[in-house]
């Protein structure tokens, strides 16, 4: 409970004694490149393979001749939009971006760089953390949308090249009874997950004490806590918005 209170206070401190708007714009753009552009490769490769594997495994399980082939791509589509892209990519995102945020802030803390900012009269939490959170909240939904497309493309590629289903069936399936709200749901999840990952990782890094060993522990703890928070939020959002 004490940690939760400290986390809430920390979040509050991001909004006090802020710097100028132009200062934040520069930092946010820089962070968008760090968290978004630099995550493209890992998100792309994971999404393509998830799409391919999901298609093959769905086909493997749908053995009844009464189930049409296009159901395979329908299942892949709904899995991608509802769970694989927002949630599984969030776990990847926590591993890559969350650990990087915690490591960076932890190192800045133990090498007195955060103290140097405070001595200059800068609100270090707002200056360092707010741009990271905003960048994650901007970039992660974009990564999720990209991931959905790449999962569908990976599924199409694997499905058609192995002869599991025809391209006509695949394309028919991904358009069949499409529910637009699912995309809204995926974006809501992306917004919530990105905020949780960025804020928890920042919190863990910002309050690191000790030396390099503790920075490593803070990074690990940031990833673990972010993943748990993402999974809890995943369940809560599903219950709230789909239940």
């Amino acid at each position: 409970m004490r940690s939760l209170g400290k986390y809430v206070t920390f979040m509050g401190s991001l909004l006090t004694r802020r710097e100028t708007f132009s200062t934040y714009i520069k930092l946010i753009i820089q962070e968008c490149v760090n968290v978004g552009y630099n995550s493209l490769f890992i998100v792309g490769i994971v999404s393509l393979f998830m799409g391919a594997v999901t298609t093959i495994q769905t086909a493997f399980n749908l053995v009844s001749p009464f189930i049409p082939d296009y159901v395979i791509s329908l299942v892949v589509r709904d899995m991608a939009i509802l769970e694989l892209s927002p949630t599984i990519i969030a776990i990847i995102f926590a591993g890559k971006v969350g650990s990087s945020i915690a490591g960076e802030l932890g190192t800045m803390r133990i090498t007195e760089q955060i103290d140097a900012l405070e001595v200059m009269g800068i609100n270090a939490s707002s200056y360092l953390v707010l741009p990271k959170i905003i960048a994650c909240v901007i970039m992660y939904p974009m990564l999720v949308i990209l991931s959905i497309f790449l999962i569908l493309f990976g599924g199409y590629f694997a499905g058609t090249i192995t002869g599991i289903l025809s391209s006509v069936d695949y394309l028919y399936g991904i358009r069949y009874e499409f529910i637009e709200f699912n995309i809204t749901f995926a974006i809501i999840k992306a917004l919530v997950f990105s905020f949780l990952i960025a804020s928890i990782s920042s919190y863990k890094g910002f309050f690191t004490t000790g030396g390099s060993l503790e920075v490593g522990k803070a990074s690990t703890s940031a990833v673990t806590n972010s993943c748990i928070a993402v999974l809890l939020a995943d369940y809560a959002l599903a219950q709230l918005l789909l239940g």
């Binding site: 710097e19 007195e112 760089q113 103290d115 405070e118 001595v119 200059m120 009269g121």
Partner: protein, 249 residues
């Protein structure tokens, strides 16, 4: 001038500072000395506002840093420059950006003026043509110099140095000490240095405060420090045979 009044600080049950009062003089090198773990750095962090004392006040030229308005505190912070023990340069910025950082944040000078000021400060600390290097590419002594350049770039009224020559060889340590001494008198700033290096005490210390186990035991000038009959101070200063030979015989 900086006055500290009855500063006490505890971390959980452990009291680290006990009712410390003193004065740091303008245009002088004010040293806080004492053995490791005695509360010097904690006192310094209280003075610069990184830690809030449990009780007491810190007065910067008749402005309270603890009980003053937010505006006063902001203004005082703008007048502070600090050199950290590990230099605390920003890893992601090159040397020029590091030194320019306080100007970028605290002023709206045109970029040309900022760069001129950065070059002037780097030249002042004896560093040329390293503007585009990253902190990881320069030596410990150079990092300290860059740290000093960053501390003075916004023309501070108060300069704080936390163990400025720790981790440096004796020659480089003396150069850093002399640089701080020159800058202090050149700009007539109030400099407060935390150190346990006896070279610094005798070379640059104008006004000295001795701490032991979180308590101020002695305060006086450089000339008086070797003549004190306080046993704890003598034990600290004359801990080595060399010092004993130099000053007692």
């Amino acid at each position: 001038m900086i006055e500290i009044k009855n500063i006490s600080k505890s971390f959980k049950e452990k009291q680290v500072l006990f009712d410390i009062s003193g004065t740091f003089l303008k245009g002088k090198n004010n040293l806080i000395i004492g053995s490791s773990g005695t509360g010097k750095s904690v006192l310094l962090k209280n003075i610069v506002g990184l830690i809030t004392p449990d009780q007491g006040d810190i007065i910067y030229n008749e402005r309270s840093f603890i009980y003053g308005s937010e505006q006063d505190r902001k203004q005082i912070r703008r007048e502070i420059g600090m050199l950290f023990q590990g230099s605390a340069l920003f890893d992601s910025k090159n040397i020029e950006e590091n030194v320019r950082f306080p100007l970028d944040i605290l002023t709206d000078f045109p970029i040309e003026e900022k760069i001129d000021r950065v070059n002037f400060c780097l030249e002042r600390v004896g560093l040329l043509n390293i503007n585009k290097k990253m902190p990881s590419e320069i030596s410990g002594g150079m990092k300290k110099r860059v740290g000093i350049a960053r501390a003075i770039v916004n023309r501070p009224n108060y300069l704080f140095c936390d163990e400025p020559n720790s981790g440096l060889d004796p020659q480089t340590g003396i150069k850093i000490d002399n640089l701080i001494k020159e800058i202090t008198s050149e700009y007539s700033i109030t400099t407060v240095i935390v150190t346990h290096d006896m070279n610094s005490v005798f070379e640059i210390g104008d006004h000295i405060m001795f701490l032991l186990e979180g308590k101020k035991l002695w305060e006086g000038s450089n000339g008086e420090v070797t003549k004190s009959d306080l046993k704890e101070l003598n034990d600290f200063i004359f801990a080595t045979k060399l010092m004993k030979q130099m000053y007692l015989h």
